[in-house]
């Protein structure tokens, strides 16, 4: 079976600095996969290569078996690739519902429609609102995003990504910056994500990673060090050496 997402020999260099070194990575369908690694290991670079924010120096990226290496960012999204951002990247001056509506509308292909008002696309609005209900932020539907507490803004990040109905969802440190008391809410939402979406999560919080992931890939200095089940990773001597030993710094 073709994996949901696959990179073959993915390589990225900035001058002499190699930030992604021959990465061969497979994300299976309906996967719950975590990507971990010390700071500066190239995790976010890897995400940016997959989503098309950066162009690789060499290598290929396949989404559900199709080569998307040459596609621009927007086309990859249309192919079913969704992402969230490590640092909130939201429409801060708009309401929560409007934030999600923009994504749902763009996915529904009405984003360029000039002749009908947004309000007449009722199904788009209702779908967006339904997503808010699922993430328990429907009460804030009409609040401006910039007025929400940070934890809820993280949920809007996820709601926007889900509005695109992705087959592959990349979560870039979904709990980053959230006070530990609210992390549980984020984790609940992540655990309740639709089963058939393949989820790749980048996270520093080891508790979250080991609770969520069924496979873990460890990235060190732009290359894959080891991949395995959480138990295998926890027992791996190299991982302990390069990563778990530095956990406190992460």
């Amino acid at each position: 079976m073709t994996p949901a997402l696959e990179t073959i020999g993915l390589h990225k260099r900035f001058g002499a600095l190699i930030v992604a070194n021959d990465i061969n990575f497979r994300l299976e369908h309906a996967a719950r996969h975590a990507l971990i690694g010390p700071n500066g290991a190239g995790k976010t670079t890897f995400i940016n290569l997959i989503t098309g924010r950066l162009a690789p120096s060499a290598g290929r990226i396949l989404l559900n078996g199709y080569d998307i290496t040459a596609l621009p960012q927007a086309a990859r999204v249309k192919c079913g690739l969704g992402r969230t951002f490590q640092i909130n990247t939201l429409f801060r001056g708009l309401t929560v519902l409007q934030n999600v509506c923009l994504a749902v509308g763009e996915h529904a292909g009405i984003g360029g429609n000039m002749l009908r008002v947004f309000g007449s696309h009722r199904s788009v609005l209702e779908h967006a609102y339904h997503l808010l209900e699922q993430l328990h932020i429907a009460d804030n539907a009409l609040s401006l995003v910039r007025e929400l507490p940070y934890g809820k803004q993280r949920l809007v990040e996820i709601a926007i990504a889900l509005g695109l109905q992705p087959t592959v969802l990349l979560l870039d440190e979904p709990a980053a910056g959230v006070p530990s008391a609210e992390t549980a809410i984020i984790l609940d939402v992540i655990e309740q994500l639709p089963r058939d979406i393949a989820v790749l999560i980048i996270e520093h919080d080891m508790e979250l990673v080991f609770r969520f992931a069924r496979r873990i890939t460890v990235l060190v200095q732009g290359a894959i060090l080891v991949e395995g089940t959480p138990a295998e990773i926890a027992a791996d001597a190299r991982v302990r050496e390069v990563y778990l030993g530095e956990r406190q710094h992460a």
């Binding site: 989503t51 924010r53 989404l63 559900n64 199709y66 596609l71 960012q73 927007a74 086309a75 990859r76 999204v77 249309k78 192919c79 079913g80 992402r83 951002f85 990247t89 939201l90 429409f91 801060r92 001056g93 708009l94 409007q98 509506c101 923009l102 994504a103 763009e106 996915h107 009405i110 984003g111 360029g112 429609n113 000039m114 002749l115 008002v117 947004f118 309000g119 007449s120 696309h121 009722r122 199904s123 609005l125 209702e126 779908h127 609102y129 339904h130 209900e133 699922q134 429907a138 539907a141 009409l142 926007i160 889900l162 509005g163 695109l164 992705p166 309740q192 639709p194 089963r195 058939d196």
Partner: protein
């Protein structure tokens, strides 16, 4: 793009879409575009002004034209967040196109407006394709450069534009063959008002459409718009072209109602002034153009009477105060006032 729909997605039952039962936030968003009574106030006032200030209809025309010009700027600057100091390029191209059409081809006004719009849209589209790859200061400089290029072209091509002497011989036919442009500006005022009204209906529909909302999205966060699969360049070039067309109509109106086109229509000063007017009224609000252009033009008229040489000082002072204490312009001030009133109760 054949590859854009490679994958059909289906979500698990938990996330499957079902109609929300009594989702009032959804209703609120559906009703957002409904016309409120206050939105008719400008039109009521404009009609009142026609009767109350019959001696000032020439100024009235200028105000209506500048409102249209400022509204076109609002679409790119206020909504899409495209920073430009070169919007007079499109105003000027519209004015020259309509003026030359009237002088050389036909004095029929409505076809002249369309010629002005098309000419400005063509310049907007071609220049937009090139300069909208950039942003920030680079974009600002490029918009200035385009205007300077066009102004110099108009200056050099004096055989058709009249150069520094201005375009002579603009002779207008009656509108629909019936309404003559009279010396007092009655016809011109109504003509400008109707054109502005139609443009307003169009712009209002546009900003409430998904397209218009996506422009706000680009202004608020371009990175996220990329990440939700929005074609940003296409959207920006499209609104730039539409805005250019509206600015071209405003320029065409000026050419037709004054029956003259001078090089100042392409000047840097006009580009700067229109930004000031919009900031005055409040950008990104559609009605900021109405308030800003009206106040600015009246202030200019009155201050220039008091002191013909130094009136710009007062405009400058007013701008400093507004930018320091009321970033949202006059409309922003009104918002603040209303909020203060509500919280007092």
């Amino acid at each position: 793009m054949a590859s854009s729909r490679l994958v059909r997605t289906n979500l698990s039952p938990l996330f499957n879409w079902r109609p929300a039962h009594s989702a009032s936030p959804v209703e609120a968003l559906i009703l957002r575009h409904r016309l409120r009574a206050i939105e008719l106030l400008p039109w009521f006032l404009a009609i009142c002004a026609y009767y109350a200030f019959a001696d000032y209809l020439a100024l009235g025309c200028q105000i209506l034209i500048m409102i249209l010009f400022a509204m076109s700027l609002d679409l790119v600057l206020g909504y899409a967040g495209i920073v430009t100091l070169g919007h007079s390029a499109f105003f000027g191209v519209g004015a020259y196109a309509a003026g030359i059409y009237a002088a050389r081809v036909s004095g029929e006004p409505l076809s002249g407006l369309i010629i002005g719009a098309i000419a400005a849209a063509a310049i907007g589209w071609t220049s937009g394709l090139v300069i909208l790859r950039t942003q920030g200061l680079t974009l600002l400089m490029l918009t200035l450069a385009i205007t300077a290029l066009l102004a110099e072209a108009a200056n050099q091509a004096s055989f058709i534009t009249g150069g520094a002497d201005g375009l002579q011989g603009v002779d207008m036919h009656p509108i629909f063959g019936i309404f003559n442009f009279d010396l007092y500006g009655h016809t011109a005022y109504i003509y400008c008002l109707v054109v502005l009204f139609v443009a307003w209906l169009f712009a209002r529909r546009l900003i409430h459409s998904p397209f218009g909302q996506s422009l706000i999205g680009i202004r608020e966060n371009a990175a996220r718009m990329h990440a939700i699969g929005s074609p940003l360049r296409l959207r920006l070039v499209t609104i730039y072209t539409i805005s250019a067309a509206l600015a071209g109509v405003a320029g065409a109106l000026l050419a037709q109602t004054t029956q003259f086109v001078g090089l100042t229509v392409l000047g840097f000063q006009r580009s700067g002034e229109i930004v000031i007017m919009l900031v005055f009224g409040g950008a990104g609000r559609l009605y900021g153009a109405f308030i800003g252009a009206t106040l600015y033009m009246i202030a200019q008229d009155q201050l220039a009477k008091l002191d013909p040489t130094y009136w710009y000082f007062w405009i400058g002072l007013l701008l400093v105060l507004l930018v320091m204490f009321a970033r949202g312009g006059v409309l922003g001030l009104i918002d603040q006032g209303l909020r203060a009133l509500r919280s007092m109760r």
